[in-house]
């Protein structure tokens, strides 16, 4: 035996031995990889699946209904939704802290801007081998980061232009609209032409990006290089500044702090146009029968695709890195993104991520379905960076300063954004 070992040791000590060991180790590692990474093919023990998600604001609680449906077919793997605050910052913080603490979660329902962060930190697992046929390209791309699929889109979103059909004859060419275009609406009972989202939150990021894109500019290119100092970008910022603080000191013609404020202004008949998300469509309701006092906005409005690309919104489903049942979690994600589930989500107000859901005449859908599909297909994603939150905050401060300074960029804007994209601490100016 000793001789055998001695011979083996001697024969494995040269380069051929190293090669043999290397190849063997590689083959062994490759054979173990599926077990390590995806548990593919392995039978998983029964048990509950935990989905961590923001609060479902839909009228019919369709997400819970879908989970109930899953549970009825998968009694060994029932799912439970852990609902978080509807506040995006609270959602993000809670999910991130849970992931870092290794708290129990099987699926995260992530805002599309958080996928890169969770993927880069390996808080979620790659979703290899999922069938992505039938998904709309733009929503599908939000779950793809660094050459790898990490998530499947659950629901998508794109901004729409809400407009009063009794007042608006020609739609604006870009947003916020041109002052000359807006002037026609600056008469009672209207108090402004246009409502958007201009408070210091993600809504401002979205509206500013769309204004910049509408002017042909960009903030960050596909390689995450900062391009905010281009002439076209500054042009977009000037449009924002003009809308909020028109030259000559006249009344600002763009109103609205957050989504609900804009909807209220539109519903109350204060503005003729509004940029908002499709979910607001059903919140513009007609007054009860017999009422003679309300402005009949609900009966006189329509939606259109934004004249220039919208920001792409939505949420993606990803398997938590510490999920004890990743394969089942993946199956649940596939169920929630299946054509049948998407049809139910659409009926309750969520924008679906599959083309067929928009096109199928058998599916009950809102009347703006075709418009929404076109908007989603034309929408553009926000920068995919693990430090999106930091980037967005830095960008908003720059936009705030630019709006207050007739669209001119504050000093150091490029460097500030470049640092923020890398996650380097950005000191907010008071």
């Amino acid at each position: 035996m000793a001789r055998v070992l001695s011979v083996a040791k001697e024969r494995l000590s040269g380069w051929p031995g190293g090669l043999v060991i290397g190849v063997t180790a590689t083959l062994l590692a490759l054979s173990l990889t599926p077990l390590v990474r995806n548990h593919d093919g392995a039978a998983e023990p029964g048990g509950e699946l935990v989905i961590v998600s923001g609060q479902d604001d839909s009228n019919g609680q369709v997400r819970q209904k879908l989970i109930n449906e899953w549970n009825s077919h998968n009694p060994n793997h029932p799912a439970r939704i852990v609902s978080l605050s509807s506040n995006a910052d609270a959602q993000h913080s809670q999910m991130l802290a849970m992931a870092q603490a290794g708290d129990r979660a099987d699926i995260y329902n992530l805002d599309v801007t958080w996928v890169a962060e969770f993927a880069s930190a390996s808080y979620i697992k790659p979703l290899t081998g999922v069938n992505t046929a039938g998904f709309l390209k733009n929503p599908l791309d939000t779950g793809f980061y660094e050459g790898q699929r990490w998530a499947l889109p659950f629901n998508t979103d794109a901004g729409l232009l809400f407009y009063r059909t009794d007042l608006v004859k020609d739609l604006p060419r870009y947003l916020p609209p041109d002052p000359n275009y807006a002037r026609q609406f600056l008469r009672p009972p209207l108090t402004a032409a246009y409502a958007g989202q201009f408070a210091d939150y993600e809504g401002l990021t979205v509206n500013a990006l769309e204004a910049i894109w509408g002017a042909g500019g960009n903030v960050v290119d596909k390689d995450l290089r900062v391009t905010i100092d281009s002439a076209a970008t500054v042009k977009g910022l000037r449009r924002l500044a003009d809308a909020r603080y028109p030259p000559g000191g006249t009344l600002r013609y763009a109103l609205g702090d957050q989504e609900a404020d804009a909807t209220k202004a539109f519903t109350d008949g204060q503005v003729a146009l509004m940029r908002n998300w499709p979910v607001q469509f059903n919140r513009i309701k007609p007054a009860e029968s017999g009422s003679k006092s309300a402005v009949d906005v609900a009966g006189n409005f329509e939606v259109a695709k934004l004249p220039t690309p919208s920001v792409l919104g939505g949420q993606d489903l990803a398997v938590a890195a510490n999920s004890p049942r990743p394969q089942t979690a993946r199956q649940l994600i596939e169920f929630l993104t299946s054509p049948a589930s998407q049809a139910k989500l659409f009926a309750d107000g969520f924008a679906p991520v599959r083309a067929s859901t928009y096109d199928d005449p058998q599916i009950r859908k809102p009347r703006y379905a075709a418009t929404l599909k076109a908007a989603v297909e034309a929408a553009r994603a926000r920068p995919m960076t693990p430090h999106y939150i930091l980037f967005s905050a830095a960008f908003r401060d720059i936009v705030d300063d630019a709006i207050a300074d007739k669209g001119d960029l504050p000093p150091g804007a490029v460097r500030t954004l470049a640092n923020a994209l890398k996650g380097q601490r950005y000191i907010r100016q008071p």
């Binding site: 001697e10 024969r11 000590s13 040269g14 380069w15 051929p16 190293g18 090669l19 290397g22 180790a25 590692a29 990889t33 390590v36 609060q55 479902d56 604001d57 839909s58 009228n59 019919g60 609680q61 852990v82 609902s83 978080l84 509807s86 609270a90 993000h92 913080s93 809670q94 991130l96 802290a97 870092q100 603490a101 993927a119 880069s120 790659p126 660094e146 050459g147 790898q148 209220k264 202004a265 519903t267 109350d268 008949g269 309701k285 007609p286 007054a287 009860e288 029968s289 017999g290 009422s291 003679k292 006092s293 309300a294 430090h387 640092n419 890398k422 996650g423 380097q424 601490r425 008071p430």
Partner: protein, 841 residues
């Protein structure tokens, strides 16, 4: 020195060991050993060649095979060469000969060992001394045996090394010797051999691997052999490292990843080295031959340099892969959830930013932590919800979900006062729960309760002042504001300290009436009023000449123009030195001690370490400086005069007892639209019922509530002047549960009737109308507004669903007291409003 033995056991010639396992000799010697034609050109196949080590007595014979073959008589200097490789490492004591790359100089004396077979045969071998005569044709050099030696170079010396007497190096190899006659012989210089060995082998000269008699064994690791082996190992190690990276970070190997090209290059290099090293001639030898460096660099040195360069490239590639983003971007920072009060939200946010900056400065610009600062003290949120949620570990209780309704589960809690912490512990104890509060809480700062005076000429200092003197001095004409005792630590402590300064309950009641009148007169909701919120109003000029009981740090931020609250985030010009802004520090005041609270539910080592680091920093000089920048004082122990939890509770009870009672008429829309489904399940009316239920929780024992339902053509009285407390609450809920929404919305007749109802209490009658739609009766809104103005009633409208406040008739009727809410928050909005109303406004 090696003796080459023929298959029949005769001496075929001599060779020399030049590496641990390789022997140089002449091809014709090997032909002779194999008993082939001496000039046979074809490479011997599957042939073993026996060798002996004659100068190492006792060493057993060894076996070798042909590994390089250049046939004899090729007509050039390369001819007649063979390299034999031992199947076993050379025996101990057999040191490889040192080769000389220089052509032998004329006149140099050399020694040659061989086995003379013709003249004076010597089976044990014999040395011959010879002299280099110079170069001859075919690249060889002539070697003449010295006359004064016993032997001459002859047959049996073929393949023998020509050893320089001075250096001991091998200058050449004897290839041609005369059998007799002249004493000259010809030798191939080692320099020619070196060139030959440097060049790629001609495939036709190579022994196919399958033809090898056996797999060669690893040569001994010494000399230059160690370097190729090391490189082979390095290549293998690099391959293994890349495989490991692929397992850990598979995404790096995908197209589109920034590291893709680096990885591809590293992989190629690793494979190339591993493959090249597997050849018998090393990559380094090939490189040396290619660039002809051997004239300027020693082979060993060249190899070392190349090995070093290769190692650096590989190490860089692997390091780049294993540390892919560090050079490009920061890792995701540790997320900490920091819960604080509404009064402290802006200051804690600023301090948190300073902490993140400090970690970034120490970490190459990358912050190690991100602090999510938030507060649950918002309109529509019952302050008791936070205490209860903390006590039960932020878990759902079937009715309330803290994660959904309050926000993230905190890792750090910065309440204003330790008494808030005590309240959580007390609540947990009463519920038989284990308190989630970590035993050790540390004060990070302090701030006394002071009186801020707007438009005052009273000097800030100069004489000792107590709360009693100060409030008496303030006088009735001046408005007095105080944060909500139910909603803030400042309000609770302020209530306690001001009550303690009053002589009796009557004085307390007068104080509350004065505060209540101040809020009412300014149309500011008392419920939910925060200290910074009041200062924000002061900054806007809404408060006018008035006094505010406030924490000193909030006052400092106010005068320094710092952000105050969510609605006052902008900076303003500092007010320091501006006349009419005075703060007074009563001598008998109490202090907010700002405890740093941790929770037992934060168990992750990463989060606990990050949390502890925050505390450590807060107590350090930079942290204290950041806190002072927000107007906070140094940490303090709980002062001796600090009220206990029971004293605070007692003060709150007295507050609720002395505040003016309310008699409220609540008219609820029960039209058909209230039966519509809402997000979260249930109908609109279900949400309203929840709101009413929560509102009843706010009732004091002296408060009264009347409940109407309006639908169809008019209203119906469900219950009249039900008292506060359990009985009244149950009566109202029982009546409400019987209602089935239906019909139209007679909103205007209901409002007209409600404001006309006579009330019995001394305060102004209060009417609250909750509707989800506009009036459907066609009455004139103008007339209704006139009726409201003509009455003494305070009308509040909560508009939800299709009902709207802005630019509509309800705004005309209710003015600023029209509150819009969606169905996600209308229950809380209603409870909030009732709490304010029952709080005396």
């Amino acid at each position: 020195m090696v003796r080459i033995v023929s298959v029949s056991g005769e001496t075929a010639g001599v060779g020399v060991l030049y590496t641990g396992q390789r022997i140089l000799t002449c091809a014709h010697v090997v032909n002779a050993a194999l008993e082939r034609d001496r000039l046979a050109k074809d490479r011997p196949k599957k042939a073993w060649v026996d060798v002996q080590f004659p100068l190492l007595p006792g060493t057993p014979p060894a076996v070798s095979f042909v590994s390089e073959w250049v046939p004899p008589q090729d007509g050039d200097e390369h001819g007649d060469l063979c390299v034999l490789t031992l199947t076993e490492p050379a025996p101990a004591g057999a040191a490889p000969a040192r080769l000389s790359g220089h052509f032998p100089e004329r006149g140099r004396q050399v020694d040659v060992f061989g086995y003379p077979s013709e003249e004076h045969p010597s089976p044990d071998g014999a040395w011959v001394t010879a002299e280099v005569k110079g170069q001859v044709g075919g690249g060889r050099f002539q070697l003449d045996s010295m006359n004064d030696v016993a032997h001459r170079i002859q047959s049996g010396y073929s393949g023998s090394p020509v050893l320089d007497r001075n250096t001991g190096r091998v200058l050449g190899l004897v290839s041609v010797a005369r059998a007799s006659g002249p004493r000259d012989s010809l030798s191939i210089p080692i320099s020619a051999w070196m060139r030959l060995l440097d060049q790629p082998l001609n495939p036709q000269h190579r022994l196919p691997r399958s033809d090898q008699p056996s797999a060669p064994r690893r040569p001994a690791r010494h000399g230059t052999q160690a370097i190729p082996s090391a490189i082979t190992g390095l290549g293998t190690a690099a391959l293994a490292a890349l495989v490991l990276v692929w397992l850990v970070r598979p995404s790096l190997f995908t197209p589109g990843h920034g590291a893709g090209w680096w990885l591809a290059a590293a992989l190629f290099l690793a494979v190339a080295i591993a493959t090249a090293s597997s050849h018998r001639q090393t990559l380094l030898d090939r490189a040396r031959a290619l660039f002809r460096w051997r004239q300027t660099l020693q082979p060993k040195r060249t190899r070392r340099l190349l090995a070093l360069a290769t190692s650096l490239v590989l190490a860089s590639a692997v390091a780049f892969v294993l540390w892919p983003r560090a050079a490009q971007a920061c890792p995701v920072a540790t997320e900490l959830r920091v819960l604080t009060t509404a009064d402290s939200e802006q200051s804690v946010t600023a301090v948190a930013a300073a902490y993140e900056d400090s970690t970034a400065r120490a970490n190459g610009g990358c912050p190690t932590a991100h602090l999510h600062v938030y507060t649950t003290e918002k309109p529509g949120t019952d302050p008791k919800e936070l205490t209860a949620a903390l006590a039960r570990g932020w878990a759902d209780d079937g009715k309330r979900s803290p994660l959904r309704q309050l926000g993230a589960q905190p890792d750090i809690w910065l309440p204003g006062s330790t008494r808030d912490v005590d309240a959580v512990t007390d609540t947990a104890r009463k519920s038989a729960l284990r308190s989630p509060i970590e035993p050790r809480t540390t004060s990070i700062a302090s701030s006394p309760i002071v009186l801020g005076r707007f438009g005052s000429t009273t000097p800030a200092s100069g004489r000792v002042t107590t709360w009693h003197q100060l409030l008496a001095q303030a006088g009735v004409p001046r408005d007095l504001y105080r944060p909500d005792p139910d909603g803030s630590a400042t309000g609770r402590l302020a209530t306690r300290v001001t009550y303690a300064s009053q002589p009796d309950a009557t004085a307390e009641r007068q104080l509350e009436q004065r505060i209540s009148d101040s809020f009412s007169g300014s149309d500011i909701p008392q419920q939910g009023a925060s200290g910074t919120g009041l200062l924000c109003l002061a900054r806007s000029g809404i408060l006018g000449e008035s006094d505010v009981i406030i924490a000193k740090d909030a006052w400092s931020r106010y005068v320094n123009g710092l952000p105050l609250s969510a609605n006052c985030r902008g900076r303003t010009k500092p007010l320091e030195g501006v006349a009419g802004q005075v703060v007074v520090h009563p001598t008998d005041t109490v202090v907010l001690d700002y405890p740093f609270v941790s929770f037992t539910w934060t168990r992750s080592p990463r989060l606990t370490a990050a949390r502890d680091a925050v505390l450590q920093w807060l107590l350090s000089p930079p942290g204290q400086q950041a806190l002072r920048g927000q107007g906070l004082d140094a940490p303090t122990r709980v002062p001796a005069n600090q009220p206990t939890l029971s004293e605070l509770d007692n003060a709150l009870q007295r507050y609720h007892a002395v505040k003016p009672p309310a008699d409220i008429l609540l008219a609820v829309d029960t039209s058909g639209s209230m039966d519509e489904k809402v997000a979260g399940g249930g109908t609109r009316f279900d949400v309203v019922k929840r709101g009413v239920e929560d509102s009843l929780d706010q009732m004091g024992p002296k408060d009264r509530v009347t409940l109407w339902a309006f639908y169809g053509r008019g209203h119906r009285v469900l219950i009249s002047r039900a008292p506060g407390g359990y009985t009244g609450r149950q009566q109202v809920l029982a009546e409400l549960s019987k209602v089935q929404p239906s019909g139209a919305t007679p909103l205007y007749p209901t409002i007209t009737a409600a404001v006309a109802v006579p009330h019995t209490v001394t305060v102004a009658p209060i009417v609250v109308v909750l509707t989800d739609g506009e009036d459907t009766t066609g009455q004139s809104a103008t007339n209704v507004a006139g009726s409201v103005r003509a009455s003494k009633a305070q009308l509040y409208v909560v508009a939800t669903g299709e009902a709207r406040c802005g630019a509509g008739p309800l705004q005309d009727i209710a003015g600023k007291r029209c509150y819009a809410a969606d169905f996600g928050s209308v229950d809380r909005q209603l409870a909030n409003l009732f709490a304010a109303l029952w709080g005396g406004n």
